[in-house]
Amino acid sequence: MSRVGTIARRSFLIGSAVLAGGVAFGVYTVRRPHENPLEAGLAEGEVTFNPWVLVGPERITLITPHADVGQGVAHMQAMLLAEEMRLEPGQFDISFGDPSPAYWNRAMGEEGAPFLSSDQGFAARTTRTAMGAVMKVLGMQVTGGSTSTPDSFDKLRQAGAIARETLRRAGEIRTSIPSDQLRCEAGAVVLPDGTRIPYTELSAQAATIDPVEDAPLTPRAEWRLIGQETERLDIVAKSTGQQAYGIDVSVPGMVHAAVRVNPRRGVLTGYDASAARSMRGVSDVVEVTNGVAVVADNSWRAFQAVNAVDCDWGPAPYPAEQADHWAEVAASFTEDRLDREWRAEGDVEAALSGDVIEAEYRAPYVAHQPLEPLNAIVRVTEAGAEVWTGHQMPRFLQQQVAAITGHEADQVTLHNQFSGGSFGHRLEFEHVRLATEIAVQMPGVPVKLTFQREEDFAQDFPRQIGMARGRGAVAGGRVEASDIQIAAVSSSRSQMGRIGQNVPGADSQIPAGVWNVPYAIPSYRVRAYAVPELAPTSSWRSVGASSSGFFGESFLDELVHAAGADPLAERLRLAIDPRAVAVLEAVAEMSGWGREPAENRGLGVAMVESFGVPVAEVIEVEATAQGIRIHDVWVAAEVGTVVDPVAFENQVQGGVVWGLGHAINCEITYADGMAEQSNFDWHDGMRIWQAPRIAVRGVELGGSVRGIGEPPVPPAAPALANAIFAATGQRLREMPFNKFVDFV
């Protein structure tokens, strides 16, 4: 790899600061466009104008390279392209396409820059540009960090507009009618007399001309699809059982595999597979890294047989008992573990010299556990490897597989699949690596590895564990000072370390949602402490803000109550970002904030900004004889422009359910080095009987377009805790809350 590439490789990260690579690139390196991956596979009569559009005599295919894990981005990407191409749903196919550097994520680099989202100063803009350059030079095709919409919004509209104008130009050549007299409408170029020439009939013509790059975007007032309620392209398939997920794929000659890998993440010291080998349908038992795999003719037979293998597991490389994990976190508020002081405004020491309000908070490990268990099909031959799975980092996947099979990365073909959820889980590679390790021992045979749910829990990389200590002061009915110290393991470093990447600099995810609050507290200090790696962790929907947002907004609520102020009014008084003000005002109005709640009821509010999106939530609870019942949630989020209102509402509701459910009843704890929770009976999240009404409002102030997959999660837990305090007077400072209160 080139020197530039090496620098960039070492410096890549998700969600933290990186600069070393970005400023080192020459202008040519950064400006050089990536090749269009569709060029190589063109059939007779097909034409491609850019990496997202393929038009042939029979069909039009739109490439939607962001992985769809349920958030609806395949539809969103297709609508952006179809809007500009003047295509109607039903006139095109969609495909995830092959992995390609052309699909580098333009939004993720910007998101990682450690500046307030409202900061448009020189340093902030320069850093964002430099980080974007890192993403481009490396061709980082990644779905994550709520970036699919911001990455796609301009790019895919431009791609669609170029396709439209090129087809219009092809129509001009075909008919000799000036292009300004030709309309593009419903998949066709329309002549002045109304004659329609379908795009598919113009593909050969279009292939003879250069793409028309000067292609105007459709004004917002003329949008037919963007910003409108459209029917998701996958909704019928998902409502009739026709949607295939990775776990449903079948390849001719395929065998079924199951694994057991050391649940302590140590080594396999020995095993006895004699019972497994004699079980019906079992064809082989092979070793994999730190574990054993069974190959059989059916998933269930593979499960039964691998469970019959007697394994000896080595010890965990981290503390065996949960109490020792907490002790390590608690011992990390020290100078030598200070990751960074993120905010230091006013005179915190002086402000805290009098009466001080103090509190300590905890957030546990939590598992991802999307409902589709991890799975992958891998076939290895001399020529390369083929992989069928749903994954969010296709090009890293190619590298991971190639490193095991000994091929070059571009000899690894990925057939990306729709996924049954992710929440961060499908950014990981263990299942793909394991399937590949089995497959290299059976050349030519497609091996389908399916994790049992228990294995998925055991091998999951949970959310970071963390604690916070807050000290604050109030005066004259106002919050005057807040000093928040957060100690957590770095899930970013843990995650990137598993694929050989460093996260240079401080990890902005440790204090996410706290260092970047859009509040002006006169004396405000935020310090993040990096706890050395304990159990390995990973990005969990909304990452650092899922725990630190709870710390920050819970402590602020305590200060507001100590000041005798109104929780919503005081937040509005402190808010300095117009977007934050807008979402707080919206939920105040939606919830009727200020009314006297009924007996035993209380309202709580929280507002957290994550991934550049401020989200405010008000929750109303009732303390009943059977426990806390959550009646209503009112949510407002500011994303600039709501691109897909159906997905927007669904993601917000789902994010609230995700945030609440895990705050109420989920944690992963370790005993004897193993996760104690192994299935949904002990880690289920929210059920329908606990699900509140959730009213959603998208606030559109017209600035940068942002993603909504993660931002609704962080305010849910603190809004709930604050509501429970309002109803009962009891402060909840540790998740999950069901350790301290009952829920209906």
Binding site: W300, L371, G421, G654
Partner: protein
């Protein structure tokens, strides 16, 4: 052993303790029936056995001799979708969609037993069907809508 799946007689040669879930998925290639937990905690594998919603991960093959089994593929009447499916489409319930076949099979059974379910009925009957994406508000609305569609014929 022999049973009927979506109106088609099927015969399989499997171990008596192989769960119906895996008979359907791996032996018969019927993939709308999903594996989620294997211990009846998520409901993704819900099918109808003799008209009753059941967790197929808990039904050993040897208990199914002669049974009438319906999966989501068999819920529609020819080209006409079941009211539950129509409502699920109209309300755009699915996100990842992985749990939704099980949700719809459970909801269809609920509506067969309780034509006008209250929210409390829905809570009671749907509580075993886990949705990790959190589509519960839409599931609730879609069930009420499906009930109305069935009443109106």
């Amino acid at each position: 052993m022999q049973f009927t799946v979506n109106g088609v007689p099927r015969e399989v040669d499997v171990e008596g303790d192989m769960p119906l879930l895996w008979v359907l998925r791996d032996e018969l290639g019927i993939t709308s029936v999903k594996y989620g937990c294997g211990i009846a905690q998520c409901g993704a594998c819900t099918v109808h056995v003799d008209g009753i919603a059941m967790r197929s991960c808990q039904l050993p093959a040897d208990s199914l001799e002669g049974a009438q089994i319906t999966t989501l593929e068999g819920l529609a009447e020819g080209e006409t979708l079941h009211a539950v499916q129509e409502a699920w489409i109209a309300h755009q319930v699915a996100q990842c969609g992985y749990c939704q076949a099980g949700q719809m099979m459970q909801a269809a059974d609920l509506l067969a037993a309780v034509p006008e379910p209250t929210d409390a009925d829905i809570d009671d009957f749907m509580g075993g069907n886990l949705c990790r994406c959190g589509t519960y508000p839409r599931i609730r609305a879609a069930i009420h809508d499906a009930a109305a569609r069935l009443r109106e014929g």
